[in-house]
Amino acid sequence: MLIFEQSRSGRTNPPQAPLQDVAIDDIPDQFRRQSKPTLPEVSEMQAVRHYTRLSQKNFSIDTHFYPLGSCTMKYNPRGCNTLAMLPGFLRRHPLSPDSMSQGFMACMFELQEMLKDVTGMKAVSLAPMAGAQGEFTGVAMIRKYHESRNDDARTEILVPDAAHGTNPATAVMCNYKVREIPTNDQGDVDLEALKAAVGPQTAGIMLTNPSTLGVFERKIKEIADIVHEAGGLLYYDGANLNAILGKVKPGDMGFDVIHMNLHKTFSTPHGGGGPGAGPVGVSQRLEPYLPVPLLSKEGDQYRWLTDNERPESIGKLSTFMGNAGVLLRAYIYARLLGKEGMHRVSEFATLNANYMLARMRDAGFELAYPQRRATHEFIVTMRKQAKELGVNAMDFAKRLLDYGFHAPTTYFPLLVPECLLIEPTETESREDIDAFIEAMIAIQNEAETTPETVKQAPYTLPVRRLDDVKAAKELDLAWKPE
């Protein structure tokens, strides 16, 4: 039932607003709203009960194994939330004077320094509010760099065909043409194709490493050399940073600019679709272009640099300074892990993924890149099942829900047919991974014996399989009173 269906005209919740009406005669009638908005009129308990019950309809990290490839769904330490929500942090106005903000600014400055260290970059800005905005920031800096050198010929951004959709979409937002680079059968960038593609028109290349195919790009240094020699810059999409945290620094691989998804690698919550935070790190030559505001430390005082002090900046990305509360959570997480804990993240994420891979291979599932190590994630393809049994990757995904597991990412990357991209993360136990494997084996048996069971799944969720076509064709995007 929708909250609106519980609404009754005249029902109020007085404790949550001023208790009295107040006259507002000084606002002329012409500006006054005449219609009553469709906000629910419910009691506080009705709202609490409604949203508590709704919440129970979700799968989440706190309730389920959630091996959603490329999303790094790992445990979000509760302490990070509690501490980021202390009244002193919550009540600070973003434009409060620096003198009243040193506690908060200290956290931000220290986070900035830590992120520089783990990525091997020369400078970091915390401003971008999500991964995609980090990508925009990075490509905008690349553009500004070339512009500042009057290198106007550079109109193309190279993107491997396995890339996240955000990469080409971002390049276009920065007015670049996108040229796709093919992947070879080992899952690596096709170097010959790359060599053929680069030239004076190349502004840069956007790479994820490990790639979305779940493998580490072994020739990264050669790629860097090819692109750099052509005068282009390298952008690192940090979506998969969890795989190499503390093991390899993007700066050492030759990247000029990088974004990090703190809601992945630094375990801030995904929140049902955000907020994230996408800080960017840059090499020395891109430093002048970092977005504002930027934090500096002078003596023991922290200070926001003014726009005037950053004349070459690509500018502002948000009204204030970005997703401060997300950054606080990442800061706390980083402090909890510490120097000693960073590399364990990638080690155990990798151990879990390779263990899963081995067990699934042994159980007869087909791997997309059987000759490669898994990184923190790997791909299986259901093309045989789809062809021979009529049970596709989506059917497996839906049936997994009945078994109490969130599905892996389906049909991404687009290169691999009928794929499941599986990312267990380091916080899952071996027992839960084993239980997932057992479920996959059980579903495979069902697919072989009673395929309809799988194709009609799920059965035990709040709804059965939903009609996406109807959703898109008969658009119903807002409830209307009868």
């Binding site: 302490g79 907020p275 500018g315 909890l336 120097k339 807002a478």
Partner: protein
């Protein structure tokens, strides 16, 4: 190990299953010369007890302030239930509802959110959020360029009465695509776009941005502006404060046919000030333009048994399907903040939100009146109805006044001169429903006292 459940036995058995001798071996595809030498600037690990103490101390350092600053972020009372529910693990630790059947909680909530926002703005449809107010305006500009097929100009009229940060962000995001943001000045005495100053023949332009209230808190002549833009084939983008919408005419009802796109900052709906984020941007539009909208959209549909359910829809607009032809590169949005906003609106209801708005208005007016009354030489700069911000000019240097206030724990308003040199020694003040009579008096007394010393 912190947050890692593996025992030594697990590790040994898992490596055996893999056929590797050590975890290190699993990284054997990474060229040795790239391997990290270790970390220098990350401190050693702390436990939750120690970090709790650090964070309490730091939060305390910045606490106990009395805030009369708005300028895009507003201190409202947030019902305790909002964040107690929002941070439930099932909302907090879920992701974008790609598997609809396992995400009906989030999906239904987002559908309810879309309903509330569409109704609040008077528009047909809403998306499921963007990053914040400023970036929602940038996206609205890009959307207007896509949507207005009649205009070729890529030319947006952007009043100076729009929040300066919004204008800067819009510039950052759209300028590479050759879109021009052309300034419209405001009238010095009324503090709004003077409708009489609008050019009779403005030429081809894509859209007019209309802030309501504007950055100075003043109410613009939205009906006239909207009709003027529409007469010239341009779209209208309303940038609105959602609390204000409980009180003042929503964009969907501006002029003859209403605005085309409404966007703005969602923070007043249940997000704490929190140093500027996470907040969320909202965006609503006419049904006609829904396929040009950026970001997630949720639709109501049916399951195999004909039962009502909710799912992401119109995904063909988005980057993960459409890639370089997507309406935006946005992927992760501000889902959790929208969760808070939805619960906030449900807890307040139309009457509650209306009271929050009207008390914020009344307190602000009262604050300005008292200040002008008690402080020699202080004056209201504009003769215009406001929502919950107001511009007051002092005789004293406002930087010094603000400095003095900050020493008393008061965040004393926004000094306008930096962005508007013509408004020297002008403060933008805001007093929401959270301020008591005593707070207003304390502010005025402090300003008078400090001004007296200058």
């Amino acid at each position: 190990m912190p947050f890692i459940p593996h025992t030594e036995k697990d590790i040994a058995e898992m490596l055996k299953a893999i056929g590797a001798d050590s975890i290190e071996d699993l990284f054997d595809e990474i060229p040795a010369n790239l391997r990290s030498a270790g970390l220098q600037d990350v401190p050693t690990s702390t436990n939750e007890m120690e970090v709790t103490r650090v964070m309490h101390e730091r939060a305390d350092q910045d606490a106990r302030t009395l805030c009369f600053l708005g300028a895009g972020a507003y201190e409202h009372h947030i019902p305790a239930a909002v964040w107690e529910l929002t941070t439930r693990g099932e909302f907090y630790s879920a992701y974008t509802p790609y598997q609809a059947e396992a995400s009906q909680g989030t999906l239904q909530l987002l559908y309810e959110y879309q309903t509330m926002m569409a109704s609040l703005t008077g528009m047909d449809v809403s998306n499921a959020s963007l990053y914040d107010g400023a970036s929602s305006l940038a996206e609205a500009v890009l959307m207007a360029v896509r949507a207005n097929r009649k205009s070729k100009a890529k030319r947006i009229l952007m009043p100076r009465s729009v929040h300066p940060a919004y204008r800067k962000v819009a510039h950052t995001i759209v300028h590479n695509q050759g879109i021009a943001l052309e300034e419209l000045d405001y009238d010095r005495s009324s503090g709004i776009i003077d409708p009489d100053s609008l050019p009779k023949d403005p030429g081809d332009f894509t859209a007019l941005v209309i802030p309501q209230p504007n950055f100075f808190g003043n109410l613009e002549e939205v009906d006239t502006l909207t009709d003027w833009a529409h007469q010239h084939g341009a779209l209208v983008i309303g940038v609105v404060n959602p609390t204000a919408l409980a009180l003042i005419t929503p964009p969907g009802e501006w002029g003859e046919i209403g605005a085309d796109i409404a966007c703005g900052e969602g923070q007043p709906l249940g997000a704490p000030l929190a140093s500027g984020g996470p907040y969320f941007g909202f965006m609503c539009c006419r049904q006609t333009y829904v396929r040009q909208m950026p970001g997630r959209i949720i639709g109501r549909t049916e399951d195999l048994d004909g039962k009502e359910g909710f799912a992401l829809t119109l995904q063909a607009r988005e980057q993960h399907i459409r890639r370089s032809k997507a309406t935006s590169n946005i992927c992760t949005n501000q889902g959790l903040l929208v969760t808070a906003a939805t619960i906030y609106m449900a807890l307040l209801g139309p009457q509650g939100l209306q009271r929050v708005a009207s008390h914020s208005h009344a307190n602000t007016v009262k604050l300005a009146d008292r200040l002008v009354d008690k402080l020699d030489g202080a004056e209201k700069v504009f003769d215009r109805p406001v929502f919950h911000e107001v511009v007051v000019r002092l005789k004293q240097p406002v930087r010094d006044v603000l400095q003095g206030l900050s020493e008393e724990g008061i965040v004393g308003g926004y000094p306008l001169a930096e962005e508007y040199p013509e408004l020297d020694n002008c403060l933008l003040l805001c007093a929401t429903e959270t301020k008591t009579e005593a707070d207003l008096d304390a502010f005025v007394e402090a300003v008078v006292r400090i001004a007296g010393r200058l």
